[in-house]
Structures are given as structure tokens and as C-alpha cells.
């Protein structure tokens, strides 16, 4: 047995994120680049390490290669430890058969042995879908003080949007009396963030029972939480305040990137006490050439700007050639915009090349997307809202 760990984090990273369209055709959603130098998974991983949680199991299933390579030994997050660290946990063969993770709860159930080896008291369940900074340790202390069986992180959403979320109805002491998934008439505006802390012994019981129920969808939101509420277990809502953004759609991913360009930045990524870590590609600082310009933008290492960049986010190694203009856009690692091309309100995925004189997106309308490794010939047009996979 390993030395004892008070809390083990399990990060659900197996979802496809199909609402992100062609951006997730070759990689899992948590591997999607965000904010000029991060990937979405950097946020929960950095939150863990900054919260003092040093065992993180990452449950992968859909298109895991990019994610696996990115996580590697976990060293960028200081999670390359001899006793603990980050573990990638794909589904595996057991005995003569094997099975995929059939739901979020099933993914944890299939890794009971992994969790048990740490002799842990609590398990933190996370997802790889959100941009936020959160001290999980404070939530854990709240859980312990309440002698809770389950604590669910919630944030207040505008009342008129509450019917789009899983809503927690709570008593004055923040104990949860009722959980309603997308209620037509919400009684509360406390929306679940998909961040849970369970007392491990209790969760273990419910996972075992859930696995025996053939009608169950093996899902935390649909099965485990309602079952625990039904049994009147001690369940509490933990209020989270601060920036929290779901990046599950093309529009919201674009918006979350644009959020970083507003003043003041709604999420403080300069905070030295709560750094967001990521794998560094090791490139020289970026270069703005004679004739190039940059305004209201985030630009990182390895970029070369010969054209105009305004209100955009440029990831590592992006090249914007002479006469090209990039406005209100997100250019992922290694993207190249050739001479005279115009990119506006668009997401250009990794290593894509926009041919000379092309017009991508437009001043209004939905976000245009050019997929990973797509090479667009000169003079191409990708209309607003269009997704170009090159196939």
C-alpha cells in the first residue's frame, strides 16, 4: 500500500465534446488549446497542484493520444512524483472481457482499485471542460467541517439562464434538499459545476450498488447524486465565486478566449500564487516585424507577425505574413496565415495553413472554424459559421 493520501482527484477526460465540431475530431476536449498557451486540462491540473492535491487520476477514453502525450510524466504541473502524481487511466481489459467507461460513475467504478491503493478518505471528482481557478482544499475543508458525505460546488447563474443547468435547491446551512436537472421553473440559481467531493467510503458503497443496477446510466448527475439524496445522505453545496466558463461549444470557446482580452481580465492569470502551468514548447519569444502590428491581443512564444493582429489570441509558433490581417480570432499552435489573407471571428486549429488572399469568417455571424492540419489553397473562402475540415 502507498502512503496515505487525504484526498485523491479523479478527472473525467473521456468525453468527446461533440459540440466542438471538427476541433474535437482528433483530440479529446480537455486537450483543446485555450488562452494562447494552455490546454483546457491545465486548469484542473494546476488547480489540483495549487490546492495541494498530488494524486490525480485522468480518465481517458475518446481520442486520448494528444492528451496522453501532453500529460506525459506530469512534470509541468509538478505531478511527477514518486509517491503520487498524475496517472492516465484508460479503460482496460479485465479477465477475458473489457469494457468501455459507460458513464462518469462507471469510469470511477472501474478504477476502484486505483483509488483504494492510496488509502484515501476523500475523492474529488473533476471534469476537463471548464476554465476556472479554484482552491479545492477550501472546498475539502468545508466538506470535512460539515461532516458531509458529498459536497457539490455550485455557482450562482443569472435567473433567466438557470433552467439550462443542474440546479441545487439548498437550505440555509447550504445543505442540499433537492437536485433538479434543467428545471423549467427553477427554485434556486445555484448551478452545479460538476465538481464533487465525496467521502470515499460512502461513494464506494453507491458505486457498487450502481454497478449492480442494469437500468442505471452510471452517471453522477443522473444516478449517484439522486440516489444519495433519496437516502438523505449529508449533502452540501459549496459556493464558488469567480470566473467559470464552460468551453463546450465553438462559440463559448471563442468567447472564453476573447474574455482574456478584456480589461480587467476577468480571470487573473498573472497571479503568481496560483499559476496555471502547462507544457512549454520551448520556442524563442515572439517577433513583431517592421510593418507588423499588434493590438489588444495575446501573443506567445514562437510567433512571427508581419501583418496586422487585432483583438486576437495567438498560440505558439503562429505566423501572420505580410498584408494579412487577423481580427477577433483564435489561432492555435503552428497556424500560418499567408500573405494578404483576412481572418475575422474565426478559430484556426493547430498547424492549419490559410492560403494567400483567403477570406475566413467575417465581421458578423457565427464563428468560422478551420480544422487541424488543413491546408487551404490561395483565395479560399470560409464563411461565418462554416467549419472547414479539408475533407
Amino acid at each position: 500500500m502507498m502512503n496515505k493520501k487525504q484526498c485523491v482527484a479523479m478527472l473525467l477526460a473521456g468525453g468527446q465534446g461533440s459540440r466542438l465540431g471538427i476541433l474535437t475530431s482528433d483530440m479529446a476536449k480537455p486537450a483543446i488549446p485555450y488562452g494562447g498557451k494552455y490546454r483546457i486540462i491545465d486548469f484542473p491540473l494546476s488547480n489540483c497542484t495549487n490546492s495541494g492535491i498530488d494524486v490525480v487520476g485522468v480518465l481517458t477514453q475518446y481520442q486520448p493520444q494528444v492528451l496522453n502525450a501532453y500529460i506525459g510524466s506530469g512534470s509541468p504541473w509538478d505531478l511527477d512524483l514518486a509517491h503520487g502524481g498524475v496517472y492516465v487511466l484508460p479503460p482496460y481489459v479485465k479477465g477475458k472481457s473489457g469494457e468501455w467507461y459507460s458513464g462518469t460513475a462507471n469510469a470511477i467504478y472501474q478504477n476502484l482499485q486505483f483509488i483504494e491503493q492510496f488509502n484515501t478518505d476523500y475523492v474529488l471528482i473533476l471534469s476537463g471542460d471548464h476554465i476556472y481557478k479554484m482552491d479545492y482544499n477550501r472546498m475539502l475543508q468545508f466538506h470535512i467541517q460539515n461532516n458531509a458525505d458529498c459536497t457539490i460546488a455550485v455557482r450562482e447563474v443569472p435567473w433567466d439562464e438557470a433552467s439550462r443547468f443542474g440546479i441545487m435547491n439548498t437550505a440555509e446551512d447550504n445543505s442540499i434538499s433537492e437536485f433538479e436537472e434543467k428545471p423549467a421553473k427553477p427554485k434556486s440559481n445555484k448551478a452545479s459545476m460538476g465538481v464533487y467531493i465525496f467521502t470515499w467510503e460512502k461513494l464506494r458503497q453507491y458505486l457498487m450498488a450502481d454497478a449492480q443496477d442494469p437500468s442505471s446510466a452510471n452517471d453522477f448527475g443522473k444516478n449517484i447524486i439522486p440516489a444519495m439524496l433519496g437516502d438523505s445522505q449529508r449533502m452540501f453545496a459549496y459556493d464558488f465565486e469567480g470566473y467559470w466558463k464552460d468551453v463546450g461549444t465553438i462559440e463559448s470557446l471563442w468567447e472564453a478566449n476573447m474574455d482574456l482580452l478584456s480589461l480587467p481580465m476577468p480571470i487573473d492569470l498573472y497571479d503568481k500564487k496560483w499559476r496555471i502551468y502547462g507544457r512549454n514548447p520551448g520556442m524563442a519569444p515572439h517577433f513583431i516585424a517592421e510593418g507588423g502590428s499588434a493590438k489588444n491581443s495575446l501573443i506567445t512564444e514562437g510567433c512571427e507577425v508581419y501583418g496586422r493582429v487585432d483583438h486576437s489570441v495567438l498560440f505558439a509558433g503562429v505566423v501572420v505574413k505580410e498584408g494579412a490581417s487577423v481580427i477577433d480570432s483564435v489561432l492555435m499552435p503552428g497556424a500560418v496565415v499567408e500573405r494578404g489573407a483576412q481572418v475575422r471571428r474565426a478559430i484556426i486549429a493547430e498547424e492549419a495553413v490559410i492560403g494567400a488572399g483567403s477570406v475566413i469568417g467575417g465581421e458578423t455571424g457565427n464563428i468560422a472554424v478551420v480544422g487541424q492540419n488543413v491546408v487551404l489553397p490561395a483565395g479560399s473562402v470560409v464563411k461565418p459559421g462554416e467549419q472547414c475540415s479539408g475533407k
Binding site: G35, G36, K37, S75, P76, L263, L269, Y270, R275, I276, Y277, G278, N280, G282, M283, A284, P285, H286, F287, I288, A289, E290, G291, G292, S293, A294, K295, N296, S297, L298, I299, T300, E301, E304, V309, V313, L314
Partner: protein, 373 residues
Amino acid sequence: MKDVMGIIYTGEKDSFLRELTLLRAIAALPVAGRYRVIDFLVSDMVNSGIRNVGVIMQKNYHSLMDHLGSGKEWDLHGKNDGLYILPPFLTRENVGVYTGSLDALHSNMSYLRRSRQEYVLFCNSLIVYNANFNAIMDVYAQGDCDAVMMYTKDPGMQRPEYGSYLDVDKDGMIRDVEIDPTKPRYENTSMDAILISKSLLMELVDRGVAHGYHDLMRDVIQRMIRDAGLKVKGYEYKDLCYRMDSVQGYFNFNLDTLNIDVRHHLFPEDRPVYTKVRDELPARYLDDAKVVNSMVADGCIIDGTLEHSVLFRGVHIAKGATVKNCIIMQDSHVEEGAYLENCILDKQARVKRDGRLIGPKAYPIVISKNMVI
């Protein structure tokens, strides 16, 4: 190159670098926006397949140790081999301060002895280049020599009273070495990198120290080449290299990285230069940013005018400030309305509102670390 270990000697004289080396070794000088001088050499070694790198420290080595750490950024933190930091130490036969490279090697004989590699690439730290050292090994492998030294014909590398200059014959054999001549007589400037078998190096060190010598190049190799006691071949390096041996040299090197060809030579995609990572946000340009011909590192916030300059990580240029032809190191601030031209701002310096500093191009103003102007 698995059979080669690298040793970097960082004890060169640094008085020409004025304030820049008051608190650090030349090897630890910040360059090109996010690197330290030594990053190039260590990365060159690693990219050439060298897995065992020893760094001999002399004075002011705190910032160097802090920077190199466990060697993780260079993948030099393995179980076998890896990065060895070799600071001076006191023993019965060791005074703790090295008079020259021979003393330094002698103090580290046990490191040499227990390393598994058969060859040593011994380098000084003040020359910056991005080289593949396999080429120097190829020259050695052709045989008929005891060692190979790297040199360049770049006239920009010649300095009066500083450096080693080599007489290389048509067969590539080095016939003479001149050290610190007032006027270099040979067009071949030594790049202070020598490949030699470990056993021979250890013998030379032992013999040299036994004769009361202190410097490997001046006291041992130079004499032996002249006496034909050592056959040393030259390997001509034809790509870019820079000497960090004066403020002007330092200044020009940094500004040269703004030339796109120089940039692509020094930072080729297949031979990256590794450095300690700071996990900063990308640089942020605000509404009044006017930037041309500049290199800007992550963590910077720019709302002013920037021309032909290099900004290191975390530099702030406020609205209405102008920065021309400057090197501005990590976490320095240029406040509103300030005007800087031909300046080097060391780390965490601050130029207050409306401050003006204009240096001559040939003698840039150096503002020391933590200074407030």
C-alpha cells in the same frame, strides 16, 4: 555522442561587462528575451546527444545554480548521467578558488573518473551558438589527432587582447595558438571548445598541475602544440556565433536576434534552445501598443511604443512610453511617458513616469538590477 561528456567552464573574466556581471556569471547573463547564455551551450550538447553535462562554477554562481536546477528543462535529470553542478570546494589540496581551467578540472577529477564516457567536450561559456557537435566528433573520428578544437573565421569574433587565435594548416592541423594578442595574427578565432579523450585529458591535467600550471589552454595545450607533443586538429564552424565579452557585444547580439535570418539560425525548429520555464501568460498588447521590429517574451504588458528592442519576460511598457533600441530584462517597468533609447535595463529595474534615458549607440546605458530611475 553518447560516448561524450560535456564540461562547461564558467569562470571566465567578466570585467568588460560592467554592471551586468556584478551579481552573476557570464553564463547566467539573460539573453534573447528568455534565455541565459549557458542555455545555448547546454541545449547544443543535449541536441547533439550528450547525456552527461558538468558545469564548473566559479564566482557569483547562485543565479546559475538557480537557473539550471536539476537539469529537468534539458532532460538532464535522469538516473544515469544528467547535469552535474560543480562548484568550487575546499580540501587539503584544493584552495577553493580556481586560478584557471586546469585547477578547475583538477578539482573535479573524481567526476571525470567516475563518468562512463570515453570523450570530453570541454567548453567555455561566453560564446553563443547553435551547433551540432557531431561535426566535431566526425573530425576526431577521421583519426590522426589527439584532440579537435572548434574555430570560426568570422572577423566579428576577433578582439584585441582577448581570445585565442589558431594557425591551422591546409590539412586542418593546428600549428600555433596565440592567446590574448594585441593584434590577432591568425584569422581563426578559437571558440573555446575542445574534444579530447577523457584519459588523455586526465593525464594532461595531472601532469599540468604537477608542473604548477593553472590554465589548460595557455599552460598545457598551447605549449604542447608548439612542441608538437600534441596533435590537435581544427574544426571550422561556419554558422553564426557571438561573444558575450563586452557590453557592446552583448547589446549587439541581442539586437541581432531581431534579424529574421539570425533568429531562424539561432532557433531552428529541429534544435530548440531549452531554458527554465516561468509559466507566464502570453504577452498582452493593449489598445495603444505600437510595436515594430521587436522580440517580446511572455508575461509582458505593452501599451506604449516599441521599436527595435528585446523585452524579456514580465516587462511592462506603459501607455505613452517609448522604447527604442533597448534590451529590457525580466520584470522591469517603463512608466507612462518615459523615453528610452540605447539602454540595457537589468532585471526588476523601473524607469519612472516621464523619465528620459538616451545612450549613445556605441555605449549603451546600463541600468542595474532593481534600480529605480
